[in-house]
Symmetry: C2
Subunit: 359 residues, 2 copies
């Protein structure tokens, strides 16, 4: 199983914007060095920086051939078509990529690998069609095997969805590696899979196998690693997604937790605008909820708070960090915006408590 | 959507036993008046009572024609074939049933309605192939709509799987109806669906839609009902299935909970024999766990304890009931074995507290 992604030509035709191309823009934001070009004829000739405000000099091209000329290893279908079916033009691009021997990565709900024409052509050409939302077959029912791994498993948990659970883990990898700890980010959602080149979208598996998917990810991620930074999902108090959150928590059997919170948010699901109604409790109460929920399976403590303060002015953001520390007695920071050391040190200390300091 | 099941001819060829034919034997145990015959050539000529120890005079027949002669409304595939594929003999029975205009009910993982030959024949004949493990398409993401229904929703929750969560609800229906409360059992698993004639196997839906399935079941079950007795699944501390449990709890937004426990069990999953390792905490602690888990979505109390004491002598069973009452301060009983009145009254009182007594 590869643990890095290839270089991509991204298909985002007519839709290159954060709102309409989440997969494409996540790849551009987190993996700019792996994106050779983006196909969007409506914005051809500009750069990603110019269109999106990030992504630097990555060129937006108007034809698939211009994209291929940049030498990508894979085609990434970075937007979802209206309606679900693959538009004829896209089919042509995918077939052209296969014919050139490029992998094709897709986060569509309609799996490319289930399409007879595409599957046949890919097989004949010996290239992989990777539907990264598609769960693997034959997942196990979890049974605590993840608690037995040698590696220290740290899971991010959240007050809500979209609160920075993937980002926090990605931001902490380098700091832990700098301390001599072999550290692996393990993704549980499609953007994370895109970054890491492997993983399982745990929200897409059949309900009986949520924890089994988490267990399998931990067992795989823990190989040759001292620290597994596992991406959390949802929230224990999210009215729609809490089952995914608890299944992931119990299947992963983490040794430590980092609680993620967007400081300006007051209600669960508020980012969707409509029909938010569950208040987010104080952080100290969320800490207790998570610790109580995991305790019967494998006791673990929340060891730090990762705040997402992107929509706050700097002084308000620093106030939010201080308040979180006062309220919980734990180290807190916004790991994207401020110094990450307090969270890196909290995880390293948790590892050392179990194993002694790294050699 | 029908809310009762048809009369069945059950296919259990060569496997009519509690261990090897869970669907078949559940139907015989809970729905004997709807089972006209069971097909098992290896036990032909005997009665279910004789073979299973329950089921009374229901005949076991040796050929499908003998079964049809008893006048069933539906064929129920009551066992799973080894390997998963439909054996040729079974295919012949299913086709014969379709040709006679009988519905065909199946709990197989391989859906009959996805089989081109069976689907085509059923369509031509105008009969329903009902794969009752198959989740409906287009489930919503839950968002608390279930908390707004007028009916009182009581959910059974458990210390473990297989602790009596379906049985308790089925046992309480008549007592509540006798008090003038329009009471509906709402199933969330395949045996329950068989009893009620409708429902969703919530453990078979995609993880993101567990709570959405529960919400949809409550909205449907609450129509023209004063009380919804919703079947729970799993346990909040089950290492493999807790995600299903929490999703169901948050999607259903119950007004009250009944905690179910098999008195002799000490470890989660002990009934499987192998690799059980999570101790079941004291009942009072389980009560707190469930009340804390549901509180942020819709506060609800555990109002009674349903024990499963099937493997205890009567005096030990009565001791277990007394201990459960002492430990939790709540009414307790084994609703299969002893007087159900304490649980019926607990639910009726909870309904009355909100709505006043029934007219």
């Amino acid at each position: 199983m590869p643990h890095t992604a290839p270089t991509f030509l991204i298909v985002a035709d007519g839709k290159l914007a954060v709102e309409t191309a989440k997969t494409a823009t996540s790849a551009i934001r987190y993996l700019p060095e792996r994106v050779v070009a983006v196909l969007d004829a409506s914005k051809a000739g500009r750069t990603c920086q110019d269109v999106l405000g990030f992504g630097g000099a990555i060129p937006v091209v108007g034809t698939i051939e211009e994209g291929f000329a940049r030498g990508p290893q894979a085609l990434l279908v970075g937007i979802a078509p209206t309606g679900g079916a693959l538009p004829p033009a896209w089919r042509g691009w995918v077939l052209a990529a296969i014919d050139r021997g490029l992998e094709v990565w897709s986060g569509l709900h309609t799996y490319l690998s289930d399409d007879p024409e595409l599957a046949t052509r890919a097989k004949a050409r010996g290239v992989r069609l990777f539907d990264f939302r598609k769960p693997p077959e034959h997942l196990p029912v979890a049974n605590g095997r993840a608690r037995l791994v040698e590696a220290h498993v740290c899971l991010t948990v959240g007050t809500d969805c979209s609160s920075g659970k993937m980002t926090a883990q990605v931001e902490l990898v380098a700091g832990l590696q700098a301390k001599g700890l072999r550290t692996r980010f393990v993704p549980t959602g499609q953007t994370g899979i895109l970054l890491a080149g492997w993983g399982i979208s745990v929200d897409a598996v059949v309900a009986d196998f949520i924890a089994g998917a988490a267990e399998q990810l931990v067992l795989e991620g823990a190989k040759d690693a001292d620290v597994v930074l596992l991406e959390g999902q949802g929230s224990l108090i999210h009215p729609g997604y809490s089952g995914v959150t608890l299944g992931l928590l119990h299947g992963a059997c983490p040794a430590s937790l980092v609680l993620c919170h967007q400081s300006s948010r007051r209600l669960i699901g508020q980012y969707h605008g409509a029909s938010a109604w569950v208040p987010i409790p104080p952080l100290a109460q969320m800490v207790r909820l998570y610790e109580d929920a995991v305790a019967p399976i494998r006791p673990a403590k929340v060891i730090g708070i990762a705040l997402n303060t992107y929509d706050l002015a700097e002084s308000a953001a620093r106030d939010a960090v201080r308040r979180a520390e006062d309220e919980t007695g734990l180290p807190a920071t916004d790991p994207v915006r401020f110094d990450k050391a307090s969270l890196v040190n909290a995880i390293a200390s948790a590892v050392a408590r179990r194993h002694g300091p790294p050699a």
